[in-house]
């Protein structure tokens, strides 16, 4: 393999749970040496988040942790210990970037905040991710990726007008934050190459989610109502999720324009399903319930894939509603080697969801399994920082390496 795009870039990943580590994962996939700084004194909650391999609740068997921390090195340092703090600052001096998503103020209280890090290394880039941001009256509030989905207003614009808040039911704010963070770190590293000056990047996950619904916010700011559309579209009909034959089987269909409507009518007509001859979008929207009922009757006797193939052959956008089982069986994703089988020393072999994007043939890759806790203590602290065995053992005995 050729040198990776971020070969030579060292990142200290103080991140825990998902947002910070997701950012570190993207950089690790691109070839950065990402050193995860964790501690057995206060486990990363992701290590305690399932699913667990073989059903054993064990910090080394979390599938979630394994996916998010693949390809990183792990060292265990007690940041509250004076000598632990000193070790961290030594690492900062030889690193290019650091990631943290503690509550605002935690690193400052440990005297490992921006002032401390940039004094040791003026070229360092520090990314701080938090739910509400590091300033403002609610800066200390505790939240995770699902909380910010509600707080940002995003859950208020999904679903039916009569529904309560309807979230994207994964911790969406976390990976969105990780993606913003990775983009900003790569940009800041480029700036450091040009100017020599490091930078503190401060991100609020709630604010990140606002930028995922800018149109709704702008419309509402104008005083106009924002309608929750369920799965409908103002510019296409039929448009929605339709139930198919089978257990929780659905297909998404979106018919764009009058020509494709004609093709869709012909497709259903060939199966003996007559759709009214609506001339334009306005007519189809006016009769949308009846059209949807006819489409549902057609899809109800078919598999999602049958409907997809028939529609795609007619030039109509359609695709099955994918879930984890369907994605893992998807031939297209396997043709592209999306899932990466890695062998973890305890969990054994298993598939991980793959890289976020491809750079050339091999510029982005899953570069190894997630580390065991402290697996690289010797490698990093002795090999990289040059500690001798005596000091290394002393730091363990003294609780700095823990």
């Amino acid at each position: 393999m050729s040198r990776a795009p971020l070969d030579g870039v060292r990142v200290l990943d103080f991140g825990w749970t998902w947002a910070g580590p997701y950012c570190g994962m993207i950089l690790a996939d691109l070839g950065a040496d990402v050193v995860k700084v964790e501690t057995s004194q206060h486990l990363d909650m992701l290590r305690l988040s399932g699913a667990f391999v073989d059903g054993v609740r064990d910090p080394e068997r979390s599938g979630w942790y394994s996916a998010t921390n693949r390809g990183k090195r792990s060292i265990t340092i007690d940041l509250k210990h004076p000598e632990g703090r000193a070790l961290v600052l030594e690492l900062v001096a030889i690193s290019h970037a650091a990631i943290e998503n503690f509550s605002p103020g935690v690193l400052d209280r440990l005297r490992l905040g921006w002032e401390d890090l940039s004094t040791v290394n003026p070229r360092i880039v520090l990314l701080s991710l938090s739910a509400y941001g590091a300033t403002g009256p609610e800066q200390t509030y505790v939240a995770y990726g699902d909380h910010v989905g509600y707080a940002s207003g995003m859950a208020s614009v999904i679903g039916h007008p009569d529904d309560g808040p309807t979230p994207i039911n994964t911790f969406y704010g976390d990976p969105v934050g990780g993606m913003y963070g990775a983009l900003a770190i790569v940009a800041a590293l480029e700036e450091v190459r040009r100017t020599g000056a490091g930078r503190h990047l401060e991100y609020s996950q709630i604010e990140g989610l606002l930028t995922m619904i800018p149109g709704a916010l702008m419309v509402r700011s104008s005083g106009a109502p924002v309608t929750r559309l369920i799965d409908k579209s103002p510019v296409m009909a039929p448009h929605g999720f339709y139930r198919c034959l089978g257990d929780d089987a659905w297909v998404a269909i979106a018919v764009e324009g009058d020509q494709r409507w004609a093709a869709f009518r012909a497709l259903l007509g060939a199966d003996g399903r007559l759709l009214a001859d609506h001339a334009d979008l306005e007519a189809r929207k006016a009769d949308e319930d009846a059209v949807d009922a006819a489409v549902s009757a057609w899809t109800a006797t078919r598999s999602p894939w049958q409907v997809t193939v028939a529609c795609q052959r007619a030039g109509i956008a359609a695709f099955p509603l994918m879930n984890s089982a369907r994605l893992m069986r998807d031939a297209h994703l396997h043709e592209r080697n999306f899932f990466q089988w890695v062998t973890h020393p305890i969990a054994g072999p298993g598939p991980l969801p793959g890289v976020v994007f491809r750079i050339g043939a091999d510029g982005a890759d899953v570069r190894g399994p997630a580390p065991l806790m402290g697996e690289h203590n010797e490698e990093v602290l002795m090999g990289l920082l040059g500690l001798d065995r005596e000091r290394f053992d002393h730091l363990i005995a003294d609780g700095a390496i823990a």
Binding site: S66, T170, D231
Partner: protein, 360 residues
């Protein structure tokens, strides 16, 4: 932060993902020429937001010379469409050497694989990612049938745009380091599916399809009624759960949520018991007291709540844009927002070419 000040980007596309990536690169200082391909139909608010700061060139003009001079070509068109516009569709047509070029391709299923020719929209892309399966509502209300719904904002495309902007930066760095052109392949499906870290392992190791109506993990936490709205509570750290049970002080809550597995299995029962406790209380009081106890509790907010929220006002989150001739508030780009946005202007390919050639 202006790390791309001398970087030229040719953005050619139809969908929101390309515009989103182009916006990020513009914010980082790149000179981005935007070509809006025939059939482009970004809604007006999204266009006002995502099309800022560009030099817009009509798609009818020959683009080959601009493609030759650009550092990055950012596109969601396929190879045939690119060829028709005189733009290289793969490495073989890209500049090599110290100023090697980058092509960033954003497509629903990427540049390879059997689905790559599929016709897709925001809805079908959302379905393709796996995120659609965990975005559902009970229908009819109070039934066990959870039907999929689609969030606004072209979520899958917006995610792909963030990925593509990162890919452009990384690919440019790599191309210049190796003196060889680089093609970045951004699959909208994969960008979103790569996020399913809490979902794939559940299937791989437990055989549980998260999001299936029979899966207890359809609900992550507790959405509870309050006197004047809802509150949302989910604890992660055991100390947070202990703080919550100390606050609620109810033996049934302690019993139902004795450990993380019990809390998941008893989610519905916990919601009922906890709901009786929250229902007579004001949600702001619950928020303030809960957070004082370091319990992760949040208020589900409407757009009006968000626009009026003092936390966001204090942080200067809002900028002003023009929508249909009127000023409206819009969220600033986190981490990337420049001090000012250059106004979007129109130009000709010939004029841009001359400008780029003069700049060297």
């Amino acid at each position: 932060m202006k790390p791309l000040e001398d970087v030229r980007v040719l953005e050619v596309g139809r969908r929101l993902g390309v515009a989103s990536a182009g916006l990020a690169l513009t914010a980082l200082g790149a000179g981005v020429v935007q070509v809006r391909a025939p059939g482009r139909d970004l809604p007006r608010p999204e266009s006002a937001y995502y099309d800022r700061g560009r030099t817009v060139v009509a798609p009818t003009e020959p683009l080959g010379p601009l493609a030759m001079l650009a550092d990055v070509v950012l596109t969601d068109l396929d190879e045939i469409e690119l060829e028709e516009l005189g733009i290289p569709g793969d490495e073989s047509g890209l500049r090599t050497g110290p100023a090697a070029q980058v092509l960033v391709s954003i497509r629903s299923f990427g540049r390879t694989g059997s689905h790559r020719g599929f016709r897709m929209t925001d809805l079908t892309e959302w379905a393709s990612t796996g995120l659609g399966n965990v975005t559902r509502r009970p229908h009819p209300p109070d039934s066990d049938l959870y039907v999929p719904v689609m969030p606004p904002g072209s979520q899958a495309q917006a995610l792909a745009g963030l990925a593509a902007a990162t890919a452009a930066l990384v690919a440019l760095r790599w191309a210049r380091d190796r003196a060889a052109p680089v093609v970045a392949d951004v699959s909208v499906q994969e960008v979103a599916a790569a996020m399913l870290h809490g979902i794939f392992p559940n299937f791989v190791w437990n055989g549980v399809v998260t999001g299936h109506p029979s899966s207890s993990s359809t609900a992550l936490g507790l959405l509870l009624p309050a006197l004047d709205g809802d509150v949302y509570i989910r604890t992660l750290d055991p100390r947070q759960w202990e703080a919550l049970t100390a606050w609620v002080d109810d033996d049934e809550v302690r019993s139902l949520g004795a450990d993380p597995d019990s809390r998941l299995a008893n989610n519905d029962a916990l919601r009922l018991v906890m709901g009786e406790w929250t229902a007579p209380q004001r949600r702001d009081d619950l928020l303030v007291e809960g957070q004082r106890r370091h319990i992760p509790i949040a208020l589900p907010r409407s757009l009006d709540d968000v626009l009026a929220w003092q936390q966001l006002r204090a942080r200067g989150v809002w900028g002003t844009l023009e929508l249909d001739g009127n000023p409206v508030e819009s969220p600033r780009l986190p981490l990337l927002e420049p001090p000012t946005w250059r106004p979007t202007t129109e130009s000709t390919a010939e004029d841009v070419e001359e400008l780029w050639r003069k700049a060297g």
